[in-house]
Symmetry: C2
Subunit: 122 residues, 2 copies
């Protein structure tokens, strides 16, 4: 348990946030519009580096949307998430009767890396 | 349904493959060792660009491991996956009594992109 809590401790340095969304295929367009608005709020905050919302090619894929984002620190991300603008938007999402989205956000580190990731949209 | 099958059609160009793994936190090290071996086989195949296996910082995260990989084409990825070496390794994983892993691989396109993704490990 000690090692587990150590691994869960906040990072000081750059982090990767991955959010795996469970959203019905028929709601992907509507949710993406919401997400884009939120992403612009987040991107204006200090410490934001980049974000890529990936959309499954097949409507049968279990996870229709996956966001991979990088921030200067966990603290910077948490502060942006907690801003009034971000919180207001989250409330709007929860109250939208046309969207039933389960978000699974978590902080990740890179365990294995092979090749050079693209600097531009593949 | 027509538009759905069109969207699911194979891409000719570069693709992103994301694999969301459900694996007990206590099996992450063992599975990562297996994954690394497989990644080196895949990386040697034509059309491979890059892969990053992300590991959750918290052992409580629902998805302990997420791979984000880029390939020149879906055909190149499928051919590498179907190779004898890759298939043998998949069999070894399935027969390993110490690993209970649910993989959720799918092909993705980029729906929204903000900022410049890092060219090196963040």
């Amino acid at each position: 348990m000690a090692s587990a809590s150590e691994r869960a401790a906040p990072h000081d340095g750059p982090i990767t946030i991955i959010n795996v969304f469970e959203v019905p295929a028929g709601q992907v367009e509507r949710f993406t519009a919401w997400w884009r608005t939120r992403a612009h709020i987040m991107a204006a905050a200090p410490g934001f580096r980049d974000a890529r919302l990936h959309r499954a090619v097949s409507p049968q894929a279990r996870f229709q949307l996956v966001n991979v984002a990088h921030w200067d620190s966990k603290a910077a991300h948490d502060e942006a998430s907690g801003s009034a603008a971000a919180q207001d938007l989250l409330r709007a999402l929860r109250e939208d009767p046309h969207l039933r989205v389960l978000a699974n956000p978590a902080t990740y580190e890179i365990a294995v890396e092979l090749g050079e990731p693209p600097a531009t949209k593949p």
